[in-house]
């Protein structure tokens, strides 16, 4: 709570009502103290802020500021200003257009570790789901903090997998009070595991359709690279990738099927050369010169009997439906059910929706 006790907090808090881009320009001309004390009186300031002048005057009243502070205290939300030493260094870069005030819950140090963003569409396919989990898990297992947007779909899978073994950071598109109910458990879990939830908006700020794209700049800004798991024609993940390119971050995309509508956007990134091909977390970490310190990997020998080997060999060529396995293997359905299940228990085979199976 050291930042909150700082007197200067008032200057910054009073600026929270102004958009980040406008504020960045303003701070290159005026100091926060000047804005705080002279707004409403100084002519140059009035000209610069235009319609915001009134908001700024109103928000510097002590009552208003105390109410804001009380709210932060109530929700256990901490506050970080651009001036703070603890402010994440990658986010400070001018290209990012850093938020003046960050509202956060959780542990800041995880942002000092190498960070990689894993993002993707909300309506994720089972392939995208597996990919998100795999990349996020592998990154987190190597000590990389996985950054994403806490949306449903790819974001959630990434946070979930990362929180299993390491740290993860979620950037919200609205205030902390507006975490949707279905993400509530995930949010608590990632905090428990030393992760962090960040927002540039005050806790009672309701997200709008404009704020989600805005927050994407923070997702990419915090990260060294952005991995796009799956993105359709107009996915928000493409916006994140766009910011990443502007900010000079690496962009990777997981290749998808050419007929899959959910991979149209991510495949196009690959085609245009804007993104590198993401095949594994290890590749990306070596590109980024992150030391790979794997943990939690286990490699045990698995023994398969003759029938199981038969099924295994049929699945080597790729994902296969149950009916085809019946026809190709010649096993009666009853027996095949048992075999597939025992392979599943051994962690060799994965069952997919629609009665389809593939190797792990």
């Amino acid at each position: 709570m050291s930042e909150i006790n700082d007197n200067k907090i008032y200057y910054w808090l009073s600026l929270a009502g102004v958009g980040a881009r406008k504020l960045t320009v303003a701070l290159s001309v005026f100091s926060p103290e000047k804005i705080y004390f002279e707004i409403g009186r100084d002519k140059a300031l009035g000209e610069f802020f235009g319609k915001y002048t009134e908001v700024l005057v109103k928000s510097k009243s002590p009552d208003f500021l105390d109410e804001k502070l009380g709210e932060l205290y109530k929700y256990d939300i901490k506050l970080l200003t651009l001036a703070s030493e603890k402010y994440p260094h990658r986010l400070k870069e001018a290209e990012v257009c850093p938020p003046v005030v960050l509202y956060y819950r959780g542990d800041l140090p995880c942002l000092d570790k190498p960070c990689v963003a894993v993002v993707g569409t909300r309506a994720v396919s089972s392939y995208g789901k597996d990919a998100a989990k795999k990349f996020a898990f592998d990154f987190a297992a190597s000590g990389v903090t996985v950054v994403s947007g806490l949306a449903t779909g790819a974001d959630s899978y990434a946070h979930e997998a990362a929180a299993e073994i390491g740290t993860t950071a979620a950037v919200l598109g609205g205030g902390h009070k507006f975490i949707p109910a279905y993400s509530q458990n995930l949010a608590e879990k990632l905090l428990e595991k030393g992760g962090i939830i960040i927002s540039e908006y005050p806790p009672d700020f309701c997200p709008t359709k404009y704020t989600f794209p805005e927050r994407n700049r923070i997702v990419s800004g915090l990260s060294m690279a952005v991995v796009v798991i799956e993105a359709g024609e107009k996915s928000g993940a493409l916006i994140t990738a766009g910011y990443a390119l502007e900010q000079g971050r690496e962009v990777y995309a997981v290749p998808g099927g050419i007929f899959s509508v959910k991979s149209v956007g991510s495949n196009r990134l690959l085609r245009s050369g804007q993104a590198g091909v993401a095949l594994s977390a290890a590749d990306i970490m070596s590109d980024l010169r992150i030391n790979i310190g794997l943990k939690g990997q286990k490699n045990t020998a698995i023994s398969l009997d003759f029938s199981e080997q038969n099924i295994y060999s049929l699945l080597v060529s790729g994902e296969t439906g149950f009916d085809d396995l019946v026809l190709q293997s010649g096993f009666p359905p009853a027996e095949l059910n048992g075999l597939l299940f025992s392979l599943e228990l051994k962690g060799v085979v994965r069952r997919l929706p629609n009665n389809r199976y593939r190797l792990e």
Binding site: Y127, S260, G321, F341, L345, N354, N355, R356
Partner: protein, 510 residues
Amino acid sequence: MKLARITSYGLMGIKGYDVTVEIDINKGQPRIEMVGLPDAAIKESKERVKSAIKNSGFLFLPRVITISLAPADVRKEGAIYDLPIAVGILSATGQLNFSTFKDIIIVGELSLYGEIRQVMGVMSIIIAARTAGYKTIIVPKGNEKEASFIDGIDVYAFSTLREVAAFLESGLTNSPPVEKQNIFEITSNIGYKEDLKYVRGQYAAKRALEIAAAGGHNMLMIGPPGGGKTMLARCLPTILPDLTVSEALETTKIHSVAGYLDDNVGIILNRPFRTPHHTSSKFALTGGGPSAKPGEISLAHNGVLFLDELPEYPRDTLEILRQPLEDNVITISRAARTVEYPANFMLVASMNPCPCGRHGSDACVCNPAQVARYLSRLSGPLMDRIDMHIEVSNVSYDDLSGNFEEEPSEVIKKRVNAARGIQLHRFKDLGIYSNARMTNAMVSDFCRLDAKCESILRAAFERMGLSARAYNRILKVARTAADMDGSLDIQPGHVAEAIGYRTLDRGYAK
């Protein structure tokens, strides 16, 4: 004679009780008084009886006629008392002389022409009358078939009031009783339009269907639209085990009471397959209405209740299924009466995997929260009562276009019958017919697992996050899989297969 007493029968649910019809004739301003809690149909009976008597060539004398239906405190309904009232009036006015009416039961509705129209619930009435020790019953000609399956009681069927009068005057000799038919001589499985041999591929689903049919397990099919869920469900009756005689009679009783019995056949020999639409009201499912008629779940007794598109049913409609699924009977209380109908049915339901129906394919446009919300329309307590959830996938064009024929239902049915035979033998003194109906105590008796099976089940619970509610369900289904194999013990393969039928427990939406 100025007094007459005729015995007839009433219905309370599917149970019959005897009703005494008494007629008293007095002088006075002509009128008909009726007592004994008659409903509207019975009150109108006097008009039908008056015309029927007149148009059958008898005289309807202008007298004060008092009709009493005893027991007086039970509400009676239907037109079933027309015939006994008419016979009673003829007898009381001296137009019909017979002395044996003590042990004869008479039921039937009259038309104005004097014809006897068929009535509902005749099978229940005959069975109840036989149990009560009656030896003779007169029924409408239209109910002859239905009546012919019950032996131990002489049934006479007539089509006009005149015939009945002549028969009674002759001292029950001028007409032979209805010839009895043996249920076993009637061939079942007549007229199924569906057959599993026309369903291409779908081996996993077919196998599951076979197990469900053999063990009577409640089943939920999940799959994309057009994948063949409804088709598979419609084929289910073709592989269900044959009805036993007592099951057939019980089911016929319900259909007879509801008035749904085919009068040309007169008995239900195939397991019923009921498909109420999702706009059906609660009472259409449970039964009810002013006269507490049986609903869909009772009509599906000993058969299948198929609910297509399960999440589309209103939640409160689904919730009322919980109690009958547990108790196998439904009790309906109305102001007039409280009746109990059997409702021992197998619940088969189908649903899409997500709102758009394409879950698991690239074309799906639903996000996980939407899928979870869709699945959450099914309440936990209802899902607790479903043994098997299976996925029915789309068939590919290759599967559809191949030129081979699949295993016909007949062959599958033989296996199902064999497995059901094992179950009937196992449960012969326990009052149940199938593995699905085992109580927890029976499960621990009949579904013992060896160490190897235990370890599989333990691994499944730990690694796949199976819910605790799945435990007994898995054991029951494994028992059926073992019965299909004719295996005395449950083998590891049976347990593995049963676990495979718990799709929703394995975090389907995650």
